[in-house]
Amino acid sequence: MEQQQKKEMGEVTTLYHEFETWTVNTGGQTIHAKRMPGFFRTFKDRAQLAMWLPFFFLPYLRWNGRQAILFDVDHNQFHFFNLTVLPQDIWMLSLILLVAAMTLFAVTSVASRVWCGYFCFQTAWTDWFTWLENKIEGNPTARRKLDDAPWTFDKLKKKAIKHLAWALISLLTGISFSIWFVDAFDYWNKLLHLQLPLVGWVVLIMFFFGTYLLAGFLREQTCLWLCPYSRIQGVMTDSQTILPTYDYTRGEPRGKLRRGGEAVAQQGDCIDCFQCVQVCPTGVDIRNGQQLGCITCGLCIDACDVVMDKIGKPRGLIRYASLDELSGKTKKEMYQHPRTLVYIAIILLALGGIVWGLTHMGTMALKVVHERQPLYVLMSDGSVQNKYDFKVLNKMDRDVQIKVSAEGGVANQLIVGADKLPLARHGKSTSFTLFVKAPAKSLGQDVVPIQFRVESVEDPNVFAEYTSKFYGPKR
């Protein structure tokens, strides 16, 4: 019975023909990747810094006496240099996110996981963390030895220094994230006096532990099991996409380098030195072909090129190449790649929307709500009165004295209460109530449209309009 079951289960598992060679990196053993200099190593270092140094330092930039870029959550405003965006215009954010997503897709369809390999915060922070580890604990061999060694004072010291350095970066990460949302200097002041609000502490602690755990311990496991974008990007690539690839036609059959002999002639260029595996930050073997563990950082290309130089073979056994190129098909041009073109079209549309939004944001916004109960009031002189609730949003940085006028509506109408209007406060919505009174005789039909215009007393270019309705008795 038991035998039978085992056999059946075994059969199910062996449905996957790779089963015998399946090696799954579940993080049971820490990957200690070797750091080798090279073109992609340099590119990765610079790309990461270019992407993320602004994250740490940009919030300290001041502009006209306030933070240049600030997602002011306390006041529901977004400041970008001279520009202030209020929540009403935040729909543009969705377009910005769309541009970001589509750029990710477009780049991925052309050159695979460029984001993962050179820009992603997980990649960057992990890289910085392991760089520190390398400095403090030594090269991968030394680190593995240290991990297995018994606890001595020396080991304790090295580990303590490393974790302290990690913790400092994590703390700085949490602080840097927070100061995009509140004034940077004010935040530091409150932090140093331990007077942050509760939400501030929660965010800081979450980011501290998040960074420390994800970059310090989970590392490549994040890319393998946690990150949804790695999977999304996986399906963005096709046979036209270039990505770090092992040229199996040139490399196979692989074998150890031997001095002379006939065997040399029948061997491929790959000398099975495992340098490409040792430098890989996610611990994959690129020679197994494209796989989900590969973040396409190109570090294996650097490693392989060094080896090829040493054994006097041409570089590029591992190189950026498309599947088409490897299988000997003719290379297609960019314009023959519809997938990329669609992404670019969407990007352009979204950018157009953002430009339209930024140029049509206006300085003021108006909402007028007609009173529903009662819809209208009959007055003693035979006129009809309607009540309107006004909400004026002043998007500028100064308070404005406003006046109200109306177009359309009823002949000889009168706006009651327009002589004492409140100041339209900047960055806020100001509400007030007005009545419109019109002779019943002039009212041609039950409902007539009426267009209100609110404008600044000083500057008629600062205005907003809203079309509402004027109601009279049924006739």
Partner: protein
């Protein structure tokens, strides 16, 4: 560590469902067991910290070391609301309704917070937002949105109507005037020209409604020449009013009674002042000599 996943290595319970479904004998993961233990500990801590265990059927229970109760939490929340309102309430307590109306901030506060007060105390007769209510005889309680006020539409007059109440009064003329006379009068009033018939002065209407038919505010008599009607604007409705009067003591009589809220003691002085301002801001309030 690179795991070779071979399902065949794990022992099963021996049961087989649907021909080939087995059930592994696996230890639950450590994190799961830790979570279970932590949850159990949490329950113990919770039961000590919060009121939780009923001790008898008579409603006693363990109080919990924290001394927390739902009502105290609600009261704490309400005190926050009171704190926000407090500065306004303290200010308007000693002010006259006219002074409150002159203060933009306070008026804003009252118009925003008065809805509940009006809904609880006034809307039953005057309708939501003061649109008036009707009974089978016509308009039961006056509309408060228009600018026609029997007893005056200044802030002080409105305040006085609330505190002291009002009682309309009109004699029933059924036996005093003939059907034809009533018909003539009703038609003249419905046309908005009560003085067009000599009967208006002869029958004594002018004594209350004024020589010009515009009513006398001190008495609360209706203006018969404008387009706002207290009860019913149709000729039949006007005839009914002339015949049966208002508060004339008969079952047929129209009724027009506004209770005196000060005497009723239900509302505080501040609340009555707030209501006066709230009603004034419906759109019909009239500026008065202050």
């Amino acid at each position: 560590m690179s795991d070779k996943h071979n399902a065949g290595d794990v022992p099963t319970t021996g049961h087989v469902w649907d021909d080939d479904l087995g059930d592994y004998i696996n230890q639950p993961p450590k994190w799961w067991m830790l979570g279970l233990t932590a949850s159990a500990l949490f329950v113990v801590v919770y039961f000590i910290y919060y009121p939780s265990i009923p001790l008898s059927m008579s409603g006693t229970w363990t109080k919990g070391v924290a001394g927390w109760t739902a009502i105290s939490e609600m009261e704490a929340d309400m005190s926050v609301v009171d704190e926000v309102r407090g500065k306004y309430e303290a200010k308007l307590k000693d002010m006259t309704p006219a002074a409150i109306l002159a203060d933009n901030d306070l008026t804003e506060y009252v118009t925003r917070s008065g809805k509940v007060l009006f809904g609880d105390n006034c809307a039953a007769c005057h309708g939501t937002n003061g649109v008036g209510t009707h009974d089978k005889l016509g308009l039961f309680a006056p509309i408060l949105n228009d600018d026609d006020w029997l007893y005056g539409g200044t802030i002080d007059a409105i305040h006085e109507s609330i505190t002291g109440g009002r009682q309309g009064m009109m004699m029933a003329h059924e036996g005093m005037l003939t059907e034809a006379q009533i018909d003539t009068l009703a038609n003249a009033v419905a046309a908005g020209k009560p003085t067009s018939t000599p009967l208006y002065a002869e029958s004594g209407c002018a004594a209350c409604h004024g020589d010009d038919g515009k009513g006398i505010m001190a008495m609360g008599s209706a203006n018969l020449s404008d387009s706002v009607w207290r009860f019913d604007s149709s000729v039949e409705g006007i005839k009914y009013t002339i015949k049966h009067g208002v508060n004339a003591g008969t079952p047929e009589s129209r009724s027009a009674v506004m209770p005196a809220f000060q005497a009723a003691g239900k509302l505080s002085d501040a609340e009555m002042k707030k209501l006066a301002v709230y009603v004034y801001k419906f759109g019909g309030g009239q500026p008065g000599a202050q």
